[in-house]
């Protein structure tokens, strides 16, 4: 079983990203389970969402305390919360940022990558320039870097889960997948 934790801020589409990942993996024949951490969602406040993936039915029903990988939708979260809490050694930390991975001083036992999902989101008009919705390009970058999801299933899931601007989201995801 693989467990993934998404960190974001309310309004960035973090919960939708974890759901779209689940959709894409289901399309590829996996069992999936995805759920947000509930209770504190407010626009701009830190949000956490989880996805479990397995080849067989998932019976486990509790939060994820030791994720295999984490996705960070907003680089400013790196200063306020420990996104690597409980993260397994060798796990990916994929951060939405144009900066070099070394900037974030993540411990050596993790694999770190950055991807500038914000500029892709802005380019395709997802959200506003001040508050871009980075979820789909970030999910695409995660899919490419980890190799968990193929482009075809990913785009199908992005189309399904984008509440508006479906084509723009698909194009943004495609571009992010190619660039990452």
């Amino acid at each position: 079983m693989i467990e993934i934790r998404f960190h974001g801020r309310g309004g960035q589409g973090t919960v939708v990203a974890s759901k779209a990942l689940a959709d894409a993996l289901m399309i590829e024949g996996k069992w999936v389970q995805t759920f947000p951490e509930y209770g504190v969602e407010r626009r701009g406040a830190p949000v956490v969402s989880f996805t479990r993936i397995d080849d067989k039915r998932i019976y486990l029903r509790c939060k994820i305390y030791q994720p295999d990988h984490v996705v960070v939708m907003d680089p400013t979260l790196m200063e306020v919360i420990d996104v690597t809490a409980g993260l397994k050694s060798g796990g990916w930390v994929i951060i939405n940022s144009g900066k070099d991975p070394s900037f974030f001083e993540v411990p050596d036992k993790f694999r770190v990558r950055t991807f500038d999902a914000t500029s892709v989101a802005v380019k395709y008009g997802l959200g506003s320039k001040a508050a871009p919705i980075v979820n789909m390009p970030m999910l695409a970058a995660f899919s490419k870097i980890t190799g968990f999801v193929g482009l075809k299933a990913l785009l199908e899931a992005v189309r399904e889960e984008s509440p508006i601007k479906k084509e723009e989201n698909v194009q943004a995801a495609k571009e992010a997948f190619e660039k990452a």
Partner: protein, 386 residues
Amino acid sequence: MKKVVMGNHALSYGAMLARAQVIAAYPITPQTEVVGFLSELCADKLLDAKFIKVESEHSAMAASIGASAVGARTFTATSAQGLALMHEMLHWAVGARTPVVLGNINRAMGPPWTIWTDQNDSLSQRDTGLIQYYCESNQEVLDTVIQAFKVSENERVLLPAMIVLDAFVLSHTSEVVDMPDQELVDKYLPRRKATYRVDPKDPHSFGNLTGPDRYYELRYKIERSMREAEGLIKEADEEFDKLFGRKYGLIETHQIEDAETILVASATVAGTARTVVDELRAKGEKIGLVRVRVFRPFPFQEIRKAIENAHRVMVIDRNISFGHSGIFYQEVKAAMYNQPRRPPIFGYIAGLGGRDVTPETIAEIIEDAGKRDRSEEDIIWIGLKP
């Protein structure tokens, strides 16, 4: 067709596929998505139902009773304080013999104000006469809506049924659900035909004043229907299996054949417990699991058979009857009292108000019970902070 579906929408899809004709509901966290989605389905004409907006849960159930009384297939959903506000009308629905399927998202009762899961809301309705199903997965939620209509509307039953799912742990968790084919659902669950219904062309009085000379027998008939429902729930489940390839039973057992230690749990806690049982089995421990799916009618025979040969039984309750103990524990224990073989039964309380129940919680329970020979305490608290 497979789809990643949240628990709340699994309820809505179930009502849609069952072709509910009347939906009356009032929104409450964490149930809101159930009725939000159903109102969309009605507005988009994907579901040909009358959606009645009401001003409270009491009215939601009152409207449901009215709809059911004229013979309509009726669905509603609520949670916690909403279910409590329905309480009077739940007794009414049972006494009036009006079948309604009610989805209840298990949310702990306030105050203190809370939105997270435990079972005290639904278990507080224990003695109303509702059929009660506790679900472990979103697939089971959807399938059980369809099954529950079949049982509830059966004229040997004519009792409302409540389908219970854990707040957030199921209600807001999305997972793979195989959507049943509408044609097959129609075959399984044809349109309701109500013999006894309010019909202006054929006037009768309903719910009239009933004196001591008849009331007693009417209660007897409700109990008889409840017992009848036990067999019909199994039948409906087996017929469902033939068409859709899935069944759940009154209880679900896992690895109990030679089990010396048996865990008894319900809802999603049972899923997590199963993962612990599998791990311990792999290490050679003789441990098994019983998941209680149907709480009312209480499956006495199946539970007795499942646990009578165990050396030690631990019941995990995500609920408490203050001044007594965990409610599933009371019921399981009572079911064994008059039996020739009755293993020691230990009652654990865990996960109230949405406290996470993890594999470590379950492991702690197993370890604790392993140190006890007899059950001397009526409540054993797990994970209690100082």
